[in-house]
Amino acid sequence: MKFGVVRFPGSCDEVDAVLACEQQGEAEILWHGDRDLKGVDAVVVPGGFSYGDYLRVGAIAQFSPVMEAVAEFARGGGPVLGICNGFQVLCEAGLLPGALLPNTELRFLCRQVDVEVVNAGTPFTSACEQGQVLSIPVKHTTGRYYAPPGLVGEMSSGGKVVLRYAQGQNPNGSMDDIAGVCNAAGNVMGLMPHPEHAVDALTGSADGACLFASMAAHVAEPAAA
């Protein structure tokens, strides 16, 4: 299978994302100015500071040619994973519910956190165990997940909250300890922690690899995931 990893001006985690994807299959960079997704089977929108994060985080990137193609790919059921700034872009683009606000403490955070898999039945978590705790780093200033409270309740009961920070480890004031969510159809997911930085024991944890493995398994056999 082939992953596509988007590169915007200001992206900075796309190389690690490519390396994480290459553990599971092929991977190719998708330039922001191109509408061509090069026949990829899954898309990763990586972290960084797309278009300088001017105006609001993720606000400008949503109108790039590549994001028009990614939105169409997502509407057709293709799996799309947004990490950190990628999560912010997908929210701004309306592909995921909610928005990301400045951390409650107003500081840039860079630390390892424990994240619990609260729904292992998605194309992004099927290789994880339900309730499994993943050790993954976060590094962001604008990671406080917000959605209208009624919607958060619906998402939670409907299995759309995929990852939660472990008890006492919510680093940014996210509602309901939410670390990662998916859309109603389940084929688009966003998360603030960085699984692509945790795919080799050399860096302290390889727990993030299960998200990429899940996507590869989903592409190989969509019905199983």
Partner: protein, 74 residues
């Protein structure tokens, strides 16, 4: 025509920037300050000011988390 758009965090959504400013002012001797909120100001020259609300909905503001107010200037 010159348009001016004021964008504010929606009421009820925690505004840590506003809180930080509110806490800083008394330290400088300014007492009696409450309900501080920090937003953004966008100024633009437009041919058709009636398009500005749609610009706000689609780009300048995120209506899920922000309120906006359009003012036109001379």
């Amino acid at each position: 025509m010159r348009a001016r758009v004021l964008i504010r965090p929606k009421e009820g959504i925690l505004d840590p920037q506003g809180q930080a400013v509110e806490r800083a002012l008394p330290a400088l001797g300014f007492d009696g300050v409450a309900n501080v909120h920090v937003g953004r100001l966008v100024e633009l020259d437009v041919d058709d000011a009636s398009q500005v609300p749609e610009m706000c909905e689609r780009l300048l503001a995120n209506p899920l988390i922000e309120d906006y107010e359009v003012l036109t200037v001379e």
